[in-house]
Amino acid sequence: MTAAAPASGAAEPAPPRRRRGHRIRTGRIGVHAFLLTVSLAFLAPLLLAVYASLRPYEETSEHGYFSLPRKLSFDYYQRAFSDSEMTKYFINTLLIAVPGVLITLFFASFTAFCVARLRVRGSLLLLMLFTAGNLLPQQVIVTPLYVLFNRIPLPYWMSDSMTMFDSYWAVLSVQIGFQIGFCVFVLANYMRTLPQEILEAAIVDGAGVWTQYLRITLPLCRPALAALGTLQFTWMYNDFLWALVFISDGDKLPVTSALNNLRGQFFTDYNLLAAGSVIVALPTLIVFLLLQRHFIAGLTLGAGKG
């Protein structure tokens, strides 16, 4: 285009760049408009739930959810906590999710350590077994487990139903057994990227397997463990199916499954349900906003490897 073009290599791509710059600017506005619209559309349902939960039923039943407020209050939140004892269900959830995450991470990290660092015999098979197990639809295993748990007796101090069925042990063991697969997969991939020399140095110094795992490998995996911990907590917290199938006593339900209890037999106060949904969603949203980096890292660690 310009006569000076052959003079320098950089001059050749320059004119298109300027033209593209103009296009990019108009394109940018379009991109922003699009992303903003989608973002607002994604936020709207949540905002609506919060809004509905603040309004009395009489008002929304008369004017619908999409109307101007006449009275806003936190009554429903109070009711959700006092009438439906949300606190109890929250404790139930924590009783499952906290030990669940810790035990899962412990066993998964040791398994990954054996597979990726020690390279014990049959590593590949083990890895495939764990990974594939996590990919099965839950419904494939739910029926035999239901039968199995009904047949495993537990002493009264462990379960007041005297069987594994209808106890936290059932949900906890399924959560752990099922989620270990995912964690092994992610952690094994992560541990492979650690320099092997560190381990070799430890072996020369006479460190046993336990020391190699606890003192040498685990500290290096802290970012991956933080990421998986965040992710697993959210998943176990959000679980709905396991508790629904394996727990029959309504008082033992975790908070997500207990949401159903806010529904009346003949009449459902949707505003109360909205308040319940917000309460249930709040901890995960807080975890997400505070630990977003870890949460996303947990998801992508398992996926984005070359």
Binding site: L135, T143, A303
Partner: protein, 334 residues
């Protein structure tokens, strides 16, 4: 955000070494640590008795757990699907009769299977490409991209049950926000009650969550793409669309496989949303709901429920195997 930038890569220091080791497998190991490496590779002598006890216990427990919780029941499901059993009485072998009944005499089966396939098609053809589009747009480094990211990811952390409840607020016939926005109060549409309509509404709700998930994965994949590839393509005069489809997209292959597997698994696992809305009835039947109904319900038809579960298993197996093959290939490259 080191993790986001190098997904799958750990701390930054081992990075430069990785390509060299991959180009010439074994070469790096052979150089310095030949004797030690061969000693480590061979035989049980490298572990002391205490080491073996630690490994046996701490590797044994998770393996046992995986067998008891996942693989044993999977096998049991397959076996039980050939029997007739109510969970209490005798187990009698009935061959393929459960499957025969399932395909011919169980009215809920085909609608449920159709809904699962529809779920798969909708997530795969609408939600997943949409997530990819959003990831590409955000990846161009527009301003406020952090705000967009956080907002679009937000639904991913929500429980599907909560998504189901929120859907009811928007879509309920008499008070729902959607009817109010559309202004059809005289003849309100029953979005969740209408048998022909409700599955689509539920799919939208499911896509709301799935899109963010897909976007997270693709965004990480896009960030890992070598920018010099794009520059080279631009210098060669490739348009932006060409650069994306011919250069960037093919390098995203591993992410594509993961996203594909996740999409399939989500479609087959779909349960919580429909169960939260109306327990999976009246137009919202899904295979997963049928399995649950057959064991938790009064009927307790274990054998029959297992047959439905096996159908789900066969659906998923093809995709799981594809994923594993890619994994094994990646493994042998290491």
């Amino acid at each position: 955000m080191p993790l986001l930038r190098t997904p799958g890569g750990g701390p930054p220091d081992p990075r430069p070494k990785a390509p060299a080791a991959r180009d010439a497998p074994g070469a790096a190991r052979r150089t310095g640590a030949r004797t030690r490496a061969s000693a480590r590779r061979r035989g049980p002598r490298r572990f002391t008795r205490r080491d073996l006890a630690v490994i046996g216990l701490l590797l044994g427990i998770p393996v046992l757990l995986d067998m008891v919780i996942v693989w044993g029941p999977t096998l049991a499901s397959v076996l039980l699907s050939f029997t007739s059993w109510d969970g209490i009485g005798d187990i009698s072998w009935v061959g393929l009769r459960n499957y025969e009944n399932l395909f011919t005499a169980y009215p809920a089966f085909w609608p449920a299977a159709r809904h699962n396939l529809l779920w798969l098609a909708f997530l795969g053809l609408v939600a997943t490409p949409f997530g990819l589009l959003l990831a590409v747009l955000v990846d161009r480094g527009v301003r406020f991209s952090r705000f967009y990211q956080s907002t679009l990811y937000m639904p991913v952390v929500l429980s599907l049950a909560v998504v189901g409840f929120i859907a009811q607020l928007i879509l309920s016939r008499d008070q729902g926000a959607l009817n109010a926005v559309l202004g059809n109060t005289a003849d309100p549409t029953d979005w969740l009650g209408d048998r022909d309509l409700n599955i689509w509404m539920i799919l939208l709700a499911a896509a709301w969550r799935h899109t963010g998930y897909v976007m997270i994965l693709y965004l990480a994949g896009l960030k890992a793409v070598d920018p010099s590839l794009k520059e080279a393509a631009a210098i060669d005069g490739a348009s932006e669309a060409q650069t994306f489809f011919r250069i960037v997209f093919p390098t995203l292959r591993p992410v594509n496989v993961i996203v594909g597997v996740i999409t399939v698994i989500e479609a087959l696992r779909a349960f919580d949303i429909v169960y939260a809305v109306n327990k999976g009835r009246n137009g919202l039947e899904l295979l997963s709901v049928l399995v649950t109904d057959n064991i938790v319900g009064e009927a307790s038809r274990i054998g029959f429920g297992s047959a439905i579960a096996v159908v789900l298993l066969l659906f998923s197996l093809g995709f799981v195997v594809t994923f594993l093959v890619q994994e094994i290939r990646g493994e042998s490259r290491r």
